[in-house]
Symmetry: C2
Subunit: 195 residues, 2 copies
DNA sequence: ATTGAAAAGTTGACTCGTTGCACTTTTTAA
DNA sequence: TTAAAAAGTGCAACGAGTCAACTTTTCAAT
């Protein structure tokens, strides 16, 4: 039988994967995403280009390594919310508590800059987020006792996942998140006059 | 001065552009997007591959030829709405009147199938729509007498542009559009119990 | 009409992401 | 011990897209 914790094989596999991801991120941060070729990354990690693609589905995936957890956290925030808290408020709190700190973390500033300044990575990142739509929609529908494919729940999920994109570049990101959640909670109405 | 209607030069340019687009669409419909190479399209239109890229920014752009008008129509729907009609209602009407018929038109069925069944085209199409966000947001903000970069207006614009994607694959598309506009108008609330 | 500049098109070679194929190594099971 | 399955690797190739040099066409100003 296979040893439950790890086999030597899978340890080596994980090590190679990590070496590739590390080399890629380092080179990207040094010289920019478009200025680094897969072949250079492969050389830096001392593997062949084929091996890179055995571990990662494409060049963009090298940057977003273990972002599968986000989906789970999102679903968990809805399912495990405090008693009496509405689904929308749970999502609002999760976004405020989880996404804002990450974006503000100085360690990740270079990483965030890299993604923001590279169109291909921006696009990939957005597709990643929208990829969570179905899972989040299912969780919302479940908690709201609606049909599994309820359209309003699916739309809400999609809209919540657009929030990071929309809040980007705003001076006060916390206020931006609040504004959008207010819109989703109460509906849109023409704001007060500016004159 | 240049002849206002057309010069021979620009007519020829437009003709080759059209020849390329026609050849591309025909081949895509016949054999599928991924099974047709740029060189084949160039050959079919009797030009070189570089000429193809002189006219179109990329392979996906061959499919979405003159979809710049959509943006103008969208903005016009908001700006030229009937007196007393709210911005949101104007958008609702525009979506119902303009987008649903196009999708239902039997002539375009093959085209719609092509886009829906090709991941690269789906992604490109969505990025096209979201590209209209800024223009629509500006029009909404203007009509609502809000600041030009008002976040709620930007969010509303983005959400409206997501509607085609969300309504896709639903049996009753009209009802789907109405449901999402109701969500945007009044806010989300847990739907009635299904039991 | 002539001519000269600008635009359109062509060619061919090149880069880069990505994949298919063949080969080697490791692991597993008999 | 050994055969076969699985995993990893490298090479060569394909398609998208770019670049630079060159030819042709068009336009406009003499």
């Amino acid at each position: 039988m296979t040893t439950p914790p790890v086999g030597r094989r899978e340890r080596k596999k994980a090590a190679t994967r990590q070496a590739i991801a590390d080399a890629a991120l380092r080179l990207f941060l040094e010289r920019g995403y478009d200025q680094v070729s897969i072949r250079e990354i492969a050389d830096a990690a001392d593997v062949s280009t084929t091996t890179v693609f055995k571990h990662f589905s494409g060049k963009e995936a090298l940057v977003f390594d273990q972002d599968q957890e986000r989906e789970s956290e999102l679903v968990a925030a809805v399912r495990g919310r405090a008693a009496g808290q509405s689904v929308l408020d749970a999502l609002r709190q999760h976004v405020l508590d989880t996404w804002l700190p990450i974006a503000a973390h100085p360690q990740r500033a270079g990483f965030v800059d890299l993604v923001e300044s590279t169109p291909a990575l921006r696009a990939y990142s957005e597709r990643m987020w929208t990829g969570y739509t179905d899972a989040l929609a299912a969780a919302i529908a479940d908690e709201a006792r609606a049909d599994q494919d309820d359209l309003a729940c699916a739309a809400l999920a999609r809209f919540v996942l657009e929030i990071p994109t929309l809040a980007q570049g705003r001076e006060d990101r916390r206020a931006a998140v609040e504004t959008i959640f207010d819109l989703l909670t109460h509906g849109w109405e023409p704001p007060g006059d500016r004159s």
